[in-house]
Amino acid sequence: MENKEIKFLQVQQIIESHEAKVSHLIAILQETQAVYGYLPKEVLTYIATAIGISPATVLGVATFYSQFSLIPKGKYIIRVCDGTACHVRGSEPIMMAVRKELGLTADKPTSDDLMFTLETVSCLGACGLAPVVVADEEVHGQMTPDGILEVIKKLKTAVTDN
């Protein structure tokens, strides 16, 4: 409970740092998502009231941009680039390998233990290294299905070690 209050306080600070400006809504949502890892519905309502617009407008913006998520994400985000260059160099087998390993589907991007979320991105701008995967903020170029399984294994071990 205490944790939740602290986070709400942080959201209030974020709103204040943007002087509750409507034009800063996207930045406010970005910073809020950094606090929670996603955008909880009640927080969206809070933001709407604080900057004086309707909750529907805030929800409209939050659902428009692909960066925002209304559901919790895993601890580690695996982003497989499916831009044109990565696509023609075989990003799909990589995606399949991750799904198979973690028991995910197109409709279920996050593993049950909330450890991993699989996302696809349209282009990371690292086309020279295609296919590219970003796992836990680290960019891996010239990936292979076996390579990504190695990365996942390492991340899993990192968790058990801690």
């Binding site: 400006k21 409507v22 034009s23 800063h24 809504l25 996207i26 930045a27 949502l29 970005q30 409209g60 913006v61 428009f64 941009y65 692909s66 960066q67 925002f68 499916d82 831009g83 044109t84 260059a85 990565c86 696509h87 023609v88 160099r89 991105v121 349209s122 282009c123 990371l124 701008g125 690292a126 086309c127 020279g128 290294l129 295609a130 590219v132 680290e138 960019v139 891996h140 170029g141």
Partner: protein, 627 residues
């Protein structure tokens, strides 16, 4: 340190340049996104440590006097040859090392830094001739390029404002403020023939003159860094490699139209570019090059950064404005054009990163020199992101009008893994797929439009014989369908139906009537959509239908995918000659579609086969083939 006058800037520029020339050698380690991913920062740290141990290193600070024996080690922006990274370049010799690892650093310091020797194994090897290439200028990847926008990307430290100033940085701004009027600036840019590098190719000078003619007092300059086209990364590289050139361009544009405030709208997927742009703004402000009364001329300019949140449509001008205003990024009908009524209802010009980065060159060197590159209607150079199944991938800048063949084969070195060339996709989801016959087409705005493609932001994705063009059209349609904002019906519903038709065809369920419907619908979406996204979304479909009709027909008539790429049309088959009957395939098959006795050739039941490819992956004898 505040730079208060033109004289201050000139003096600092000369001083920094002299300081730079004092270095015996300067080592530039590429710290663009690609090379960082391959571990270039470790190489940099190791180099700094080891050069220091030799008692040689001086931080490249460019303001203080340094001794003549010193070696500077600097992190630079993207060198463009991402695939061969991490790249390490030596100045002044131009020696270029590729794929440098942390372990190589000791040898580099001992052999190259101390004794001026060359380490053969770190040189680039031409894949076609096997020849080792010593310097960047002799490298076939760089040799044919003409670098205007990218001139200093990879040559300077993007996080050091003095490095930019040493290379005549902000001198174009100084010239504009000192010697020119808004009218003469617009005239110069108009004469240069510069056209928008973001996609449409609208003449920059004309765009500015519209905004300049509007009454003030409040006007805006927006830098469009929302590089959403999959397969294009020139704007990222410019922002990462030479951020000050973008700021200088924005200020020149601001002076020309009478704006005092600017926004940079950058993709959130480009964290490094955003970080470097932020640092550049802070440094320029700290030196008085941004803010109030710049260079004592009374010209004021402020720049903010807005991070995008992942919406391709925000690359469209009016959607981008809506996004800066904090709303859903949906396009608005034009007119009124942003030059008349843009951000918060004020006259606004929106220029792409690459367009802005060209401005200093035009102002410094004159419209005539800029125009001497390129073709009659497309002046200057253009940066293309060369990617896909080509030997050399990376960023290339060439004069407009160079042929596709020269870019793909001379600079790109042809296809990789001995594949046969099939197509090149140009201009991202708004562009088109071109064939072998189009290879001799000059790359300029108008020539590409004639064949149904467009320059777009400059993504060039090379495809080999094993790429299915129907699947490629489906891939792009999936992308635009996903990114359609939903405001207008032709785009929202049309792209959905186009995608459904293409999916049907790739699954082998299409008919010849579907091809007719596909073409008709594509034309309607093109004609009826509100913004550029919808208007250009059918281009990949239309160009593939036009140039690769045979492939569509093979899918609908024979239910075959000639490239062997469409999952549903694949047929797995076990070659009885090669099969040893090891039973591995039968055990991994999730559908139990493979049967056979031990040590006897196995068979796949096509009815049960899921076409997952698991058997093929595990077969040690290469006996499973797709036909």
């Amino acid at each position: 340190m505040l730079i208060k006058t033109h004289e201050d800037l000139k003096k600092l520029s000369e001083k920094a340049k002299a300081a730079l020339e004092q270095y015996k050698s300067r080592i530039l380690v590429c710290a663009g996104t690609g090379c960082v991913a391959n571990g270039s920062l470790k190489v940099y740290d190791a180099l700094v440590k080891m050069v220091k141990e030799k008692g040689l290193l001086v931080e490249v600070d460019l303001v203080e006097e340094v001794g003549h024996d010193n070696v500077g080690v600097t992190k630079s922006g993207c060198h463009g040859f991402c695939q061969m990274g991490p790249l390490v370049r030596f100045e002044p010799s131009g020696l270029l090392y590729c794929k440098v690892k942390e372990e190589d650093v000791e040898e580099i310091v001992n052999t190259t830094v101390v004794n001026n020797g060359v380490i053969e194994r770190l040189l680039y090897e031409d894949p076609n001739t096997g020849e080792k290439i010593t310097t960047q200028d002799e490298n076939p990847f760089y040799k044919r390029q003409v670098r205007v926008t990218l001139r200093y990307c990879g040559r300077i430290d993007p996080e050091n404002i003095y490095d930019y100033i040493a290379h005549r940085g902000y001198r174009a701004l100084s010239k504009v403020l000192q010697e020119m009027t808004p009218e003469t600036v617009i005239k110069e840019i108009t004469e240069s023939g510069l056209r928008g590098r973001g996609g449409g190719g609208f003449p920059t000078g004309r765009k500015w003159s519209f905004a300049a003619a509007q009454p003030g007092p409040k006007k805006y300059v927006i830098c469009n860094g929302d590089e959403g086209d999959p397969g294009a990364f020139m704007d990222r590289s410019v922002m990462e490699g030479n951020p000050h050139s973008v700021l200088e361009g924005m200020m020149i544009a601001g002076f020309a139209i009478g704006a005092d405030e600017g926004y940079i709208y950058a993709r959130a997927e480009y964290p490094l570019a955003i970080k470097r742009m932020r640092k550049a703004i802070a440094d320029a402000e700290a030196h008085g090059l941004l803010g109030e009364n710049i260079l004592g001329t009374g010209f004021n300019f402020k720049i903010h950064i807005k991070e995008g949140a992942g919406a391709f449509v925000c690359g469209e001008e009016t959607a981008l404005i809506a996004s800066i205003e904090g709303e859903r990024g949906m396009p608005r009908p034009r007119p009124p054009f942003p030059a008349v009524k843009g951000l918060w209802g004020c006259p606004t010009i929106i220029n792409n990163v690459e367009t802005l980065a060209n401005l200093r060159y035009i102002i410094n060197n004159g419209a005539a020199l800029f125009k001497s590159y390129g073709t009659a209607t497309s002046a200057g150079t253009k940066t293309f992101a060369l990617a896909g199944q080509v030997q050399n991938t990376g960023l290339v800048e060439v004069p407009m009008g160079m042929t596709l063949r020269e870019v793909v084969f001379d600079i790109g070195g042809g296809l990789r893994d001995g594949k046969k060339y099939k197509s090149v996709q140009i201009g991202g989801p708004s562009g088109g797929c071109l064939t072998e016959e189009n290879l001799d087409l000059p790359l300029d705005y108008d020539e590409l439009l004639k064949v149904g493609a467009m320059v777009g932001s400059g993504g060039l994705v090379v495809m080999g014989e094993d790429t299915c063009m129907v699947e490629t059209a489906k891939f792009f349609m999936g992308f635009v369908q996903n990114e359609s904002c939903g405001k207008c019906v032709p785009c929202r519903e049309g792209t959905k139906q186009l995608l459904a038709l293409l999916t049907k065809i790739t699954e082998g369920k299409g008919t010849e009537d579907d091809l007719v419907l596909l073409e008709e619908l594509a034309q309607n979406v093109k004609a009826g959509s509100l913004c550029g996204l919808g208007k250009t979304a059918p281009n990949p479909v239309l160009t593939t239908l036009r140039y690769f009709r045979d492939e569509y027909l093979a899918h609908v008539r024979d239910k075959k995918c000639p490239a062997g790429a469409c999952q549903a049309l694949k047929e797995y088959y076990i070659d009885p000659e090669k099969c040893k009957g090891c039973t591995v395939c039968a055990r991994v098959c999730p559908a139990n579609a493979i049967t056979g006795d031990k040590k006897q050739p196995h068979v796949i039941n096509v009815e049960l086969c899921l076409k997952c490819g698991a058997c093929m992956e595990k077969c040690k004898f290469g006996s499973i083939i797709i036909r």
